[in-house]
């Protein structure tokens, strides 16, 4: 049986997608294991990037063009999520530090 180019693309993309899904699970385990809030936000950022890559690859495999648009939206949304979380926690830590200074 001869292997065609289309079949090779199929195997390549599904293999890469499987490994990427395992990577996302590994990042989730990292988020659950870590103690620091910074590490959790790093994990959220990394999962956002991996999901963008997965969406782009799926757009080619499933031959759905609109998935590229969803990837664009997802990049911006993951950026906003990380930005908002960091802003909230920076404000929290600044306030905590100021209160500690007042206590002294």
């Amino acid at each position: 049986m001869e292997l065609t180019v289309q079949q090779c693309y199929h195997y390549l993309f599904w293999g890469v997608l499987t490994v990427l899904a395992l990577c996302v699970i590994a990042v989730l385990v990292y988020i659950l294991r870590s103690r620091l809030t910074v590490d959790r936000i790093i994990g959220i950022n990394l999962i956002g990037t991996l999901v963008v890559i997965i969406i782009c690859a799926l757009g080619y495999v499933l031959d759905e063009e609109y998935l590229a648009d969803i990837a664009v939206i997802y990049v911006v949304m993951s950026f906003i999520a990380v930005m908002v979380l960091c802003k909230i926690y920076i404000g929290l830590y600044d306030r905590r530090r100021k209160e500690k200074k007042h206590d002294r």
Binding site: L12, F13, I42, Y89, I90
Partner: protein, 118 residues
């Protein structure tokens, strides 16, 4: 026919290189001791591996309308990823109270409100 196989080979090389970068950054995420190092490891997969994957997919897609959207994805990620890494390191700077013990901060400016008051 041979041209198609060369195109597939190029696509496979770029995709596997991107996968390699993702796995390396995950290993760095698990093994580095300090949060600033881990931010560096995660940012590597943000930029380089996304570029490699997108080049691989672009080779597979060819000249098509989707190609411009994929270029836009890389452009947006490259614009936003340094900003989020910067915010993360600012947060780490405030959250870690004994950062001076393992980072040389002799010429660091203090950007907290506390320093602004002084």
């Amino acid at each position: 026919m041979i041209g198609e196989w060369i195109r597939f080979g190029l696509c496979a090389v770029f995709m596997l290189a991107g996968l390699f970068i993702v796995v390396v950054s995950l290993i760095g995420l698990y093994r580095f001791d300090f949060a600033l190092n881990r931010i560096h490891a995660a940012a590597m997969s943000d930029t380089l591996s996304l570029l490699l994957f997108t080049v691989g997919i672009l080779i597979a897609v060819g000249f098509h309308a989707v190609a411009w959207k994929l270029v836009l994805v890389v452009l947006l990620q490259w614009l936003t990823s340094p900003l989020s890494s910067h915010m993360l390191s600012m947060f780490e700077y405030r959250a870690d109270f004994n950062l001076e013990n393992h980072v040389d901060m002799s010429d660091a400016e203090y950007h907290t409100e506390e320093a602004a008051e002084q």
